[in-house]
Subunit: 481 residues, 2 copies
């Protein structure tokens, strides 16, 4: 039933693009043009150009009223550029954009990024313009990203069409998470949070109104992208819900897909409609069930999107849901154990039952008064070596599917060497270790740990949420095998 | 029924303390002694002494083997100190502590802080020691904090018995949140998170095994403490559940009580037993209902404890649950609206219906294409002045109980002046504004905003959670009136 109600694309594509389904050149172009480039540093046509100048490609500003901007020769129109343009970023008002897109299509530009708003997100008045925009590329091989989009950011090629200066908003380095977002702000927030946490991305694409290129195209693209280990999406609508599920179901077998689907309530979907022209889909419960069946991991806020994507991009999945918690801070062990077991305010997982061998080994490793049970409480007498030994014992227990390690740097006999210990034990492989870290210099400790490839969070709940996502992935893969 | 099962004190108090129910001297002593003070900088007897030296009171180290430590004359025993000691911090092994506590009680020391572990949290072997400890103060006016505790930290008097150096763990400044914790690590994490966010505390007390001073004593104390606007608690057990509820019900009428009750699952409560000797109480659903009736706001992790306490300590409550969301980032408006309405993955609140006047005023204030509805989407064309005007319009609408303001500093025409705007509108009073902030320099922006007294979070979910807690408080106060 949902198939009928859940095809919610703003409007069906009016042309076929079989000729150019490959989006590779959009991410790794040789020649980029900025139409509407400006000499005025306050204008977005300037910021976009400036951000692009550090890219691994040639950049041509287009503006009939200028000879040169930021040291680059300025062209009067796209047609005047001698090179074949792979990507044209159009920073013009809606109506002018349409003419430029027509030019671009006729001169064989492969991709146009249409940044301006004023299209379908403005209701009826804008729908006509969006129709005209798509008519301008009809029958050509030109594909459109947007309109109403900030475009894309690709660390490997330094492609960056975002019209926010790097002084205003930081960009992360290379990594393995591909971000696909129907909201520019959510994309920016992902990038800032990732950068702050020392996490990289393979690319970040803002979909805007999805007149042409949509989440399904990008799902397919990133499925084949060697650099991408996880596809993180923020969507307010599905262009074609049925197709999305079909494709996601395939992709999810090899790569985790994490989705923040907003507009899930009456108020949220009304807001989404005026934001990106997204039209409300089937009931959220129906959507939820369908996503689950397709193996899509669902999240609910912008931080959880980063957190879960990080975990699945690095660890992939955990085989089952038997969790062992280890902490030197007894309180954190208790809180974490509550999160493991509770379904109401927790993750609905299971506490691993430690084997007799594990218990007897633990008894020798931990202080005499510490309990050799799950959660393992190392007490304030913890040392780096004790933590190392305990991790080794737990990793050898076949009844443990994942370890939640609470790493506290405050106890007197712990040193920064504990991070080395965590790092080494983490790199030994399954069962994986997800960490929470508590330290005075929280953010620099987190960045240091992330740079070593560790999966670490600053709270118990967030690390438990990451483990739950890994277990959900594991369950899905088990069912599909 | 739960009254019978929920009296879970480790053991009933064996003495009466009517004489000295006033804890004021514990927080503002004139004379403090450190028994077990050490000259070795690695020892906790050294760290505790060092931390105390910056306090507004005299400090006397006690150690029969030293003449002077850190420039202070060292005494052979508590009895040798000429001044009357208000607080004796005992940093000795369990067995030695008991003799010292007996000395302290006999020489009229008002409060002893017994830091050592090895008491009831170790099961049967420790229970005898804990009995002996309490027998040592029987019939005297000496009260015991602990054992198995880090003691307390009071910014106003610079009392700090925590045996973690300030280099290892930061302490926040003065503020209006009193922290009461059955776990030292959770207390430390609260202090570090608060300090990092620019939030102060009025005091932080670690309860340890609660042989004498317990959460009810502290609830009563902080209820009368003028500096305290909110009591934030981490508990693994209730000394006397029935009494706690009675007292909390009174206190909650004037001051919010926020509680992280851990050990709420089978695994969690087993872990709590070996951590602080806490014995499992009635089923968590029963506890939950009883807490709700007593007006206690319940939270589930260490970050939520800080977040919710901050909101209620500053704003108190909101009258009702009609929320207006305003953002310049459309995506955040959508996510926030979903959180308002959803009960499953949200707060179960209501979106405010804006009045006709509000809608027509908004139509003039926001960009032509922006929707004058709730959530209010200011779009990327937002300016400081536009945000100011819109907040003014929304605050004048009697149908709005609280405003969730998503403050984004990335749009091109926004300046740092937007923080001034937010600050001024916030200080105008009801309806209150709870903020989320998104900026490149996230943590410094957050600290700046907190120092202006604003209630601000770095994610949508966390700000919505704070609003839900304020609405829960409002609902409780309405029912009680």
């Amino acid at each position: 039933m949902w198939e009928e109600t859940w095809i919610v694309k703003y409007r069906p594509k009016t042309m076929t693009h079989e000729m150019d389904e490959d989006l590779t050149l959009l991410f790794k172009p040789s020649v980029v043009a900025v139409v509407g480039a400006s000499a005025d540093p306050r204008k977005i046509g300037h910021i976009a150009l400036k951000n692009l100048l550090s890219g691994d490609f040639s950049v041509h500003p287009v503006n009939p009223r200028e000879h040169e901007i930021l040291g680059r020769k300025c062209y009067g129109s796209l047609n005047d550029i001698p090179d074949g343009v792979d990507v044209a970023v159009i920073v013009l008002p809606a109506k002018s954009s349409i003419d430029v897109v027509r030019d671009a299509a006729q001169s064989g530009v492969r991709f146009v990024v249409v940044t301006s708003s004023g299209f379908s997100e403005r209701g009826e008045s804008g729908e006509g313009l969006q129709d005209a925009l798509m008519a301008a590329v009809d029958g050509t091989c030109t594909r459109v990203l947007g309109p109403n989009t900030m475009g894309l950011m690709v660390p490997s090629s330094h492609l960056d069409t975002f019209f926010i200066s790097k002084e205003r908003s930081s960009r992360p380095g290379r990594g393995s998470i591909a971000v696909v977002s129907q909201s520019g702000a959510v994309a920016v927030s992902f990038l800032e949070k990732a950068e702050a946490a020392g996490i990289g991305v393979s690319a970040c694409v803002c979909l805007g109104n999805k007149a042409d290129i949509d989440e399904v195209d990008l799902l397919r693209h990133f499925a084949d992208d060697a650099e991408t280990q996880c596809i993180a999406m923020y969507l307010e609508s599905f262009s074609n819900g049925r197709l999305f599920l079909e494709v996601a179901r395939d992709v999810a077998l090899s790569k985790p897909v994490v989705l923040l689907k907003a507009g899930r309530t009456r108020a949220g979907s009304a807001a989404a409609r005026s934001h990106t022209g997204a039209i409300a889909s089937a009931s959220d419960a129906v959507v939820d069930g369908a996503l689950r069946q397709a193996g899509v991991v669902r999240v609910y806020d912008e931080e959880e999107l980063v957190d879960v994507s990080r975990a699945v991009s690095v660890i992939g999945h955990v085989e089952n849901d038997r969790i062992c918690v280890v902490a030197s801070a007894g309180g954190f062990g208790v809180i974490a154990s509550d999160f493991v077991e509770s379904s109401d305010n927790g993750m609905g997982l299971r506490m691993a039952e430690l084997s007799e061998i594990t218990v007897s080994e633990l008894r020798k490793a931990v202080p005499e008064f510490a309990a050799p049970r799950n959660p393992v409480d190392l007490t304030a007498e913890v040392t780096d070596a004790m933590y190392d030994q305990v991790l080794g014992i737990l990793k050898a227990d076949p009844g443990v599917d994942a370890i939640m390690m609470s790493l506290e740097l405050q106890p007197p006999n712990v040193t920064d060497g504990l991070i080395e210990v965590a790092s080494r034990r983490f790199s030994e492989g399954a069962p994986p270790i997800v960490m929470s870290a508590f330290a005075k210099d929280q953010s620099s400790v987190m960045r240091d740990m992330a740079s070593r490839g560790l999966v670490v969070y600053p709270t118990i709940r967030r690390s438990m949420r990451a483990i739950a996502a890994l277990a959900e992935r594991g369950g899905y893969l088990r069912r599909r095998r």
